[in-house]
Assembly symmetry: C2
Homo-oligomer: 220 residues x 2
């Protein structure tokens, strides 16, 4: 199995967590987003969306979109489930993941920030305000969603991580990168601490990837 990704892509990071939680061996193939390698003819032929991540499994199936990949892994490697067994529970976990994947992350990814800077000539200050605005909206919604119910568990939806943490931990990594104030989100931070204590989440960290630059690289 091959995963085409980029060390700092939070969508690729989601899939790395899922693969690690399930103990699935894979080959990481770096695609440099700053160098726009995702638009190269070779990669575009593999993934016409010209985005990472892309999973190519041993049967040759090419699956794009991080959440589609994780659902696919969950269906084909069900031993460590990443979704609850009941429909309502699955819906809540999926909604939490989608609140990150649809409403938070897309506004702050590299191609959008490049457009703000390059085409709209937005100042660095206004660009950072944009990032923090959408991060704040997204994280506040997640914290409020979890605050609805008593929370006796280590993770967002129980005693084991799910698709929710596959999305949350990369989003919090992004938030730290942009210096967002995380103090208003104590539940999210508690979940993050519980997750990062697990070897699977640690192995999936951006800094542990082979294409991370030497100055941030953490050796295993």
């Amino acid at each position: 199995m091959k995963l085409f990704g980029y060390w700092r892509s939070s969508a690729a990071y989601r899939v790395r967590i899922a693969l690690a939680l399930k103990g699935i061996a894979y080959q990481a193939v770096p695609v440099s987003l700053p160098a726009h390698e995702q638009a190269s003819p070779g990669y575009a032929a593999l993934n016409p969306e010209q985005l990472v991540p892309l999973l190519v499994d041993d049967a040759g199936n090419r699956i794009s979109q991080s959440l589609a990949i994780i659902e696919y892994l969950d269906e084909t490697h069900p031993a460590v489930p990443l979704l609850p067994a009941d429909a309502a529970g699955r819906a809540r976990v999926r909604a939490f993941a989608l609140a990150i994947a649809c409403d938070t992350h897309p506004l702050n990814n590299l191609r959008v920030l490049e457009y703000l800077q390059g085409k709209l000539t937005v100042s660095d200050e206004a660009r950072l305000a944009w990032i923090r605005h959408w991060l704040g909206k997204g994280l506040a919604a997640l914290e409020a969603t979890l605050a609805e119910a008593p929370h006796p568990h280590a993770f967002a939806f129980g005693d084991a991580p799910t698709l929710a943490e596959c999305c949350l931990i990369p989003q919090l990594y992004n938030a730290r990168r942009f210096g967002a104030d995380l103090a208003p989100y104590p539940r999210l931070l508690a979940i993050e601490a519980a997750a990062l204590a697990l070897p699977a989440f640690d192995a999936a960290r951006p800094e542990r990837q082979l294409d991370a630059p030497p100055d941030v690289r953490m050796t295993p």
Copy 2:
């Protein structure tokens, strides 16, 4: 069953299509996005994300996020399936839907356009260029994805509509609204024509909703 939505929200439109395809009766509850009713205390108590759509089923489950709602409906009302039976097929349909829900729609929804205009004081011309840029990227990716395989079917992934069309038709509605040039996407247009010929897609149109303004309202 109640669906909180807004006539022109393309995320709500996706769920309306799924409900209509499955023949599920529901009560539509309008939430005016231009009037910011989604941020009212009453609605925020129902959906802490303060977004539409929200499904409240007869058991009292509150499900947010259009794709989580559609997966939930598909699991609880399986008679008219909206996903293929095999894992790889499901992954392809989900990836197509997510390419719309994560990579195309979030950049052009009302709250983002309001930020561009209000906070970044972007000109009308630059705002329209922004909209068309992300629409073009998204639609080109979808067309390229479908162009990979021979396409003997009326719909994106077979002879019946799936989650893919639930997302595509609202996205094309949005694209027309913003005057995007759709000529480069002949496959998407052929799928749209096939879908809109079905009563379920027709009933879900924004113009058929009770909260559509009188000047655009189409009576059933």
